[in-house]
């Protein structure tokens, strides 16, 4: 008989080891999956993890990792603060969309003016858009005690409708022959979130994501507010005695995660994407939830997890076109990663022991 025994204290060693074990288990079981599909597992996994970093065309893929990873990290950092305090913002995708709409809208309002202050205004508007969208569930929770998980999630679908509406109406490109979608911000220099060094993938969104990682690290480890966040999550009653104001904490956590998601949307729409279109959002807000947990809700962990996630996306595409793997297999592979992470997480709080079966 095998029994699970709760550890008196969560194991520090396991909490660092589980992400690595999960990645290894994903490679093993992913390899089995690829073998069943008739592909060479070593080659497939090699393509996914090796090719983007050290392959022949790594000079192109490495910068792309930053482009793909930055929004994930930026959003996940915001979410992790709330998650630590037990405040569940599931609607980052909607806040990401609103950030893009506000940011692009602010920029396009100036079109075709050429001025240095346009981009900073767009940045502020983008953050504001995301913040505003997150304030709805925050306010409803504080005032009426609604469930922020449901409200923030539902608002994603509202945001998607808004996105369709502005793509077809308010922000539609007047020179687009009636087709939906805004002007391309990449062709509007004052509003373009261009690469800071050509070919490096470094745009302002990447810089902001790195700043957010440092900021979150300092906040959690050196600041009273960070202590309150951790305390609320780990010991709500103790937090109450320590004088934490739950309403303020909810407003702060949801607001900040919304603003960061909004920033991510704004940097994406003004840079890599360029256009506000009906299909602008591709699920960064949801994937960021995985990234946040994969990174153990720790800022540095999230940075690494965002990179890993971006790697599986880009490597997955390469595997599709080079080896003919179906897209669904790549998604299963990514799903396995989260599954194993959560499964092995058990070992942080429990230990497995062989127990004698006793006769009743």
């Amino acid at each position: 008989m095998i029994v699970l025994e709760k550890r008196p204290q969560p194991s520090k060693a396991w909490s660092y080891a589980t992400p690595l074990v999960a990645v290894l288990a994903t490679m093993v079981f992913g390899g089995v999956l690829f073998t069943i599909l008739g592909k060479n597992p070593i080659e497939a996994i090699g393509t996914i993890f090796w090719e983007p970093l050290f392959g022949e065309f790594a000079f192109y893929y490495r910068p792309q990792l930053l482009v793909k990873g930055a929004p994930l990290v930026l959003i996940a950092i915001g979410l992790s603060l709330g998650f630590r305090a037990g405040i569940w913002n599931i609607g980052a995708e909607g806040q990401y969309i609103m950030g893009a709409i506000f940011g692009a809208g602010a920029g396009l309002a100036f079109y075709p003016l050429d001025a240095f202050y346009i981009f900073p205004i767009m940045v502020i508007s983008g953050a504001f858009g995301g913040w505003l969208w997150a304030m709805i569930p925050a306010f409803l929770k504080v005032r009426f005690g609604t469930n922020e998980i449901l409200v923030s999630l539902m608002l994603v679908y509202v945001a998607e409708q808004m996105l369709a509406s502005v793509s077809l109406g308010l922000l539609k490109n007047p020179e687009g022959f009636g087709f939906p979608g805004s002007r391309n911000l990449q062709q509007y220099d004052s509003a373009h979130n261009a690469e800071l060094i050509a070919g490096s993938g470094m745009h302002w969104g990447v810089v902001t994501a790195l700043i957010a990682v440092i900021f979150a690290y300092v906040l959690l480890n050196r600041h009273m507010l960070g202590f309150h966040i951790r305390l609320t999550g780990e010991a709500p009653r103790a937090a109450k005695f320590a004088g934490v104001n739950p309403a303020r904490l909810i407003l702060f956590c949801l607001g900040l995660s919304g603003a960061l998601a909004g920033l991510a949307g704004m940097f994406e729409v003004s840079g890599p994407s360029g256009v506000v279109s009906i299909d602008f959002n591709v699920g960064y807000g949801f994937t960021a939830i995985i990234v946040a947990f994969l990174g153990r809700l720790h800022p540095v962990g999230i940075l690494l997890a965002g990179g890993l996630m971006a790697l599986t996306y880009i490597g997955g595409e390469i595997a599709q076109s080079k080896l003919g793997l179906p897209a669904a297999a790549i998604q299963v592979f990514q799903g396995m990663l989260l599954f194993f992470l959560l499964a092995f997480d058990l070992l942080t709080n429990y230990r497995i022991r062989a127990a004698r079966s006793e006769v009743a």
């Binding site: 065309f57 022959f177 050509a198 070919g199 256009v275 591709v282 390469i318």
Partner: protein, 357 residues
């Protein structure tokens, strides 16, 4: 700015040079918006790809990536294909337009073919099919088949291509059934079985007994089958698994001849940027078998209509036609020019509702 882009080009050209050394096969890439198993749009493009492989055998290598979101991801997938040495890349969704142009600028020696868009360049062609010709046949059958006089229409996005289809179907349904009414639902997706099924169910609940769709899955067919007495048509693909009823006919996109011809042109070095818009006559649009659920006389008329379009004797948009607001559009006997059709953003007279904007 100039200097920066110069650097980028140089860096990529360097990579291209190393990638393109050992290569004698012609490599053709395909970027798909849906999964190859969608049973509709992407399924047919993939059939075109397989036809290219069949036709050229060892002389060609094809690669594809499916379910690619429209935006930066598409740009990366195309760049990746170009880096890996593709000579010709087909990008098969409207939303790939700007990404295709961006990538084409970086790879002047790779040929690109973008489906259903309007931006061309020296190495970017656009191609599309005159689906609205098929819609005319569909409208004719639908107008005859409806008993409730309500025809449901699942629109994807309110873009000219979709609006053309609605107008064409309506004009021809109205011709045979003056009482006919169209109810239009916008799904804002090309492929989402759950949303498409919802849209079909809503339309059926509102009394529609014929459903036309401009989305790619077979979910509306399944919803109609469940309802029992609702007529549907295959979209993009034959969807014959739902024949003879509810699917009574279909519009099929046949990309194979075009894909083979363009691949051949790349092999021969005769490829040139072009704007292709082919229909029933050229075989890019086909009408799937009309089943026995359709009365014989209606079937005969529908086939005659198809034959007239194949012979170039009939244009689905022939005057007199008015716009929805009652203003004149086409005079008696006048036919619509391609420019107006390409950018069509209005309903014809009689259609209710507004185009979302």
């Amino acid at each position: 700015m100039k200097f920066k882009s110069l650097l980028t080009t140089a860096a990529i050209a360097l990579g291209l040079a190393t990638g393109a050394v050992a290569q004698d096969k012609t490599k053709v890439g395909f970027v798909y918006v849906g999964p190859v198993g969608d049973g509709g749009w992407t399924y047919e493009h993939n059939k075109g790809r397989l036809a290219v492989e069949d036709h050229f055998g060892d002389k060609v290598e094809t690669v594809f990536v499916e379910s690619v979101p429209e935006g930066p991801d598409a740009e990366r997938v195309m760049t990746q294909m170009a880096l890996e040495g593709a000579d010709l890349i087909f990008t098969t969704s409207f939303g790939y337009m700007d990404p295709t142009i961006n990538v084409a600028q970086k790879f002047p020696n790779v040929k690109f073919e973008h489906a259903t868009g309007y931006k061309t360049a020296d190495n970017v062609s656009v191609y599309s099919a005159r689906f609205y010709e098929g819609r005319a046949v569909q409208g004719h059958i639908a107008g005859n088949m409806t008993k409730s006089n309500i025809i449901g229409y699942i629109g994807s996005y309110p873009i000219p291509e979709v609006i053309r289809g609605i107008n064409s179907a309506y004009i021809h349904a109205k011709k045979v059934n003056p009482d006919v009414e169209f109810k239009i639902v916008w799904a804002y997706t090309w492929f989402d079985p759950a949303k498409e099924a919802d849209a079909a169910t809503v339309l059926i609940e509102q009394g529609a007994d014929v459903i036309l769709q401009h989305t790619d899955s077979t979910a509306p067919q399944a919803a109609a089958q469940e309802a029992g007495n609702v007529v549907t048509f295959g979209q993009a693909s034959d969807m014959s698994e739902y024949a003879p009823f509810p699917r009574v006919s279909s519009i099929i996109d046949d990309w194979a001849p075009y894909y083979i011809a363009r691949t051949q042109a790349v092999m021969d070095g005769t490829w040139e940027s072009a704007n292709t818009w082919d229909g029933i006559r050229e075989g890019m649009v086909a009408i799937g078998e009309i089943t026995e659920a359709v009365p014989a006389d209606v079937k005969e008329e529908a086939l005659a209509l198809k034959a007239a379009m194949a012979a170039g004797e009939y244009h689905p948009f022939t005057g007199p036609l008015k716009k929805q607001d009652g203003s004149d559009w086409l005079a008696e006997g006048e036919t619509a020019d391609d420019g107006t059709l390409a950018g069509m953003n209005f309903y014809v007279e009689g259609l209710e509702g507004e185009i979302p904007q």
